[in-house]
Symmetry: C2
Subunit: 150 residues, 2 copies
DNA sequence: ACAAAAATGTTGCAAATGCAACAAAAATGC
DNA sequence: GCATTTTTGTTGCATTTGCAACATTTTTGT
């Protein structure tokens, strides 16, 4: 078997590790950048959806978001029509940090794709998109307490 | 920019989350399967190299390995020529659990590659291999305390 | 309309993670 | 040969992570 999943794990841990080290400079602690970029890009999202988008446990997301709020990167706003949900918005501080995150990501992206042609990069992206869509179904299934049979 | 890294992050978190849930059945706690497969496949490795291979902090690896030993999945053996290092070997228990891990991985692999032709799967693997080799250089660089300039 | 179910959010643990700081052995440079 | 640097391993601490368990609101089914 071609160890595709293993390579993805190695790549993801490397990238996350690098980002966590580099973003300490902006007072973002471990894991926080992942949430912040998404909130800046999709303001008004609720944390349940954010957790699902990122593929992280709901309670982990809840605490990471709470900390982002505490540190002034984002704000929670009550919804006028729904008392249960809280919509997430970036603050000025959050919006200010965002370009630095993107810049770092662009650099890592460039490094990751060193030696790649435009075409190869495009191909990789499309294949990864398909893998992600395939696997997120199982993630949701298992996360909800269901058992895969194999 | 094509968000290749973001897709990889989502895929990796999904897969890791699924595996962690599924391996509880074999008394493997969070993260342990990653180390165990490698020790079974490369017996005699030292933990420093294992951490580097997996792309995880040395101290995190140290504790994960200690726990694997404590739970009887692996053993540490002194090296006859080098008093500093300890070589890692799977125990019978470790070797027994290994096929279940591989089986799970194969299933996830199959799910991840649903709708892929043989050729597409091969292409993805080769592209990922190159990305991993590109990015692990930076990981080692940053992990050693160096600063990337961009 | 109303009971049952689902969605959303939180908190209490227990465990994993990772940086800093240290210790000891081995490798390197002169 | 010996001082210096590197490699390998550990421990202390603070933080993150995630499961279980709960509370509240919304949605669904009849």
């Amino acid at each position: 078997m071609k160890e595709i999943l293993r390579e993805i794990g190695m790549i993801a841990r490397s990238l996350d590790s690098i980002s966590n080290i580099e973003f300490k400079e902006y007072d973002l602690t471990k894991g926080q950048y992942v949430y912040l970029v998404r909130i800046v890009e999709s303001p008004g999202m609720i944390q349940e959806k954010l957790a699902e988008m990122i593929k992280v446990d709901r309670t982990t997301a809840a605490r990471a978001i709470k900390k982002l709020e505490l540190n002034g990167f984002i704000e929670k706003a009550d919804d006028p029509a729904n008392k249960k949900i809280k919509r997430l918005f970036p603050t000025e501080r959050g919006k200010t940090v965002y370009p630095f995150i993107i810049n770092e990501h662009e650099y890592s992206n460039k490094i990751a794709l060193t030696g790649f042609s435009e075409n190869e990069a495009e191909t990789l992206y499309n294949l990864l998109l398909r893998v992600r869509k395939n696997i997120e179904k199982d993630w949701e299934f298992v996360k909800k307490g269901n058992k895969r049979s194999y």
